[in-house]
């Protein structure tokens, strides 16, 4: 079978000693940032991106991917042990996870989270392997108009799934696209919005934007209210869940994996939404729903499976269509471009070792994560204690040197500082940065596809509704917009995205 041959190729790539090492390094760093307060995967990957330029393309992508899904594991550890989510996707886990820890069942909660995550990761890996190639085959048929409409759908979805006001989500998307216009116009060679600054001729580097908004902006925000992590952690003694626990976690893990995988493909904060959705479904269907909130194992198993599944299926649009669905994926796209790989549906056929290598490495990475997070839990518990006032100056230092090394010029340091102010100001105004960064990446691409589509159609704008694929995608986008404007739906959205 073709799938097996492909997975064999992936195994060959992923099992080389150096790739195993980078996979382990990635998931190790991922767990660390998941545990460390106030440091998320977007800022970390942006910081490490310049370092990966020196690596092989496969190795660098394997490591970056590991950081992302690894952070989902680490995030749950702090949720359970100190009632503080390490990552946004682990917010719901605090509810029952911390209750379990208070009842002296922290070990069982951690084990449940690891088992659920591992199962979900395995299923999601197979989903990518199974659905990736057919999706890419469909995408090869896409014309410029279809790509344009697909990106419209992607941005609409990120707007619908953003926190807070719909108007501001749209505003941030358009603002992001505007900022993406800075630089040289590819077709005419004209300099746009560069203010005759030579450093802006190549446009604003998205890593600079990400480091500023997600790195510095986040730090300033965290400094508003410095919570001390002085929670005393009782010794974790029993990691083995009881037979009863094992029996009860099966159904929630299955449900969580299913919901998480489905929602992970959506642009925006798929893995976050997945964990919330999984928890609310448990509240409705679980036999033990009256125990939820009081330390029920279902409240850990379902959201933890969902966020890990979602983190992994969010690779599908990036790997098959070349379109990022969240800021982390946008950084991965950037990493590929810098390595000389044009992301898109042809990656599977042109770079099979890369594509399958990444997929298989995800499964291996999940295996590493179980080992890292269960027997070695002691290390991470100590890491939770790292005080933030010593962590953030280090982040500032790494971002400053990292952003300089992109182009070896001070200009990027100053630009990052400006985006740091942006990040903080927009956070204060309740405007989310993630849709903006996504639009920043997609904006120039959309302009290019719009230009090509109109050129082919001889300037006829109806081309977007005449092509069946394009019109379907646009109709989906319109439906999503319409649905979210309905009062009953927008209430659900508010509840589901709260956190």
């Amino acid at each position: 079978m073709e799938l097996i041959a492909n997975l064999e190729l992936g195994l060959e790539t992923a099992l080389t000693l150096s790739n195993l090492f980078y996979c382990l390094l990635g998931v190790f760093l991922g767990t660390a940032i998941g545990v460390l307060p106030g440091l998320g995967p977007t800022a970390t990957i942006a910081m490490l991106l310049p370092i990966t330029f020196t690596l092989e393309p496969v190795s660098s992508l394997i490591m970056l991917a590991g950081i992302y899904y690894g952070s989902q594991y680490g995030g749950s550890t702090t949720s359970i042990l100190v009632n503080l989510p390490g990552e946004a996707a682990s917010v719901v886990t605090t509810i029952d996870g911390y209750q379990m820890a208070k009842q002296g069942r922290a070990g069982a909660a951690l084990a449940t989270s690891a088992v659920g995550s591992f199962f979900a990761g395995t299923v999601a890996t197979f989903l990518i392997a199974a659905f990736g190639p057919p999706l890419a085959a469909v995408a090869l048929e896409f014309g410029p108009a279809d790509y344009f409409s697909l990106m419209v759908l992607g941005l609409v979805a990120s707007v619908v799934l953003a926190h807070g006001s719909l108007l501001h989500a749209i505003g941030m998307v358009v603002l992001g696209m505007v900022l993406g216009m800075v630089g040289t116009d590819v077709t005419s060679g004209a300099q746009r919005y560069t203010f005759e600054i030579p450093e802006l001729a190549d446009g604003i580097n998205f890593v600079t934007v990400a480091m500023g908004m997600f790195g510095l902006g986040e730090i300033i925000r965290n400094l508003e209210s410095e919570a001390q992590r002085s929670v005393i952690i009782s010794k974790i003694t029993n990691l083995m869940p009881t037979k009863e626990d094992l029996r009860r976690m099966i159904a929630p893990i299955l449900r969580g994996t299913l919901i998480g995988s489905a929602l992970g493909i959506l642009p925006g904060s798929g893995s976050i939404l997945g964990s919330f959705a999984a928890y609310s479904i448990e509240k409705k269907v679980s036999k033990y729903r009256d125990q939820l909130g009081k330390g029920a194992i279902e409240g850990v198993a379902a959201p933890e499976s969902a966020n890990n599944a979602g983190a992994q299926t969010s690779f599908i649009p990036m790997l098959t269509l070349g379109i990022p669905s969240n800021p982390v994926m946008a950084l991965m796209v950037g990493a590929m471009i810098i390595q000389g790989i044009q992301p898109g549906p042809s990656v599977i056929s042109e770079q099979p070792a890369l594509f399958w290598g990444i997929i298989v490495s995800m499964w291996i990475g999940n295996l590493f994560l179980v080992i890292l997070n269960l027997p070695m839990i002691g290390i991470w518990v100590r890491m939770i204690m790292v005080p933030y006032q010593l962590l953030y100056p280090a982040i500032v230092a790494f971002t400053a040197i990292g952003v300089f090394s992109l182009n070896n010029r001070e200009f990027d340091i100053y630009l990052m500082a400006i985006f740091g102010v942006f990040g903080y100001v927009f956070a204060k105004l309740g405007c989310e940065s993630a849709p903006m960064l996504l639009a920043f990446i997609l904006g120039p691409l959309m302009e290019e596809y719009l230009r090509r589509a109109l050129l082919i159609s001889r300037g006829n704008p109806w081309v977007f509704v005449q092509r069946p694929i394009s019109v379907t995608l646009l109709a989906l986008a319109a439906l999503a917009m319409l649905a979210v404007s309905l009062p009953s739906f927008s209430k659900t959205r508010e509840v589901a995205l709260k956190g």
Partner: protein
Amino acid sequence: MIRSTKDFWAGLIYLFFGLCTVIIARDYDTGTALRMGPAYFPMLLGYLLTLIGIISVVRSFISHGTPIGEIAFKGLFVIIGSVLLFGFLVRRTGVVIALPLLVMISASASDHFRWPPTLILAAGLTLFCVFVFLRGLGVPLPIWGSWFGG
């Protein structure tokens, strides 16, 4: 009477960027739909952003919103200032001076700032960066800058 300060300020930001985008784009060639010029797409976006800005500002007078809350001016100025200073100093003094300064100044923004651990952190990070980034990864930054004849 502004009822939602968040909507108001965010709206002004959209308006500012939207109008700038449109005004600057007038210097570029718009072209036609068939052959989009460099100004075509930005112009569209600029108008759209201006419109969103107007809606947001108008809405700020109509519907109530949550207040912005206290702004961490200290954190904002200290963090951003320390990064700008680093950019200015890094080639002039070199990493050995610019980096510890960056670490110490940015660390002082915290309410829990204390000298002893910060000094150790600054020294450790500087050593780490010199060996890993400068020596290991070859980032072309001077250890001693031009002010010291580096």
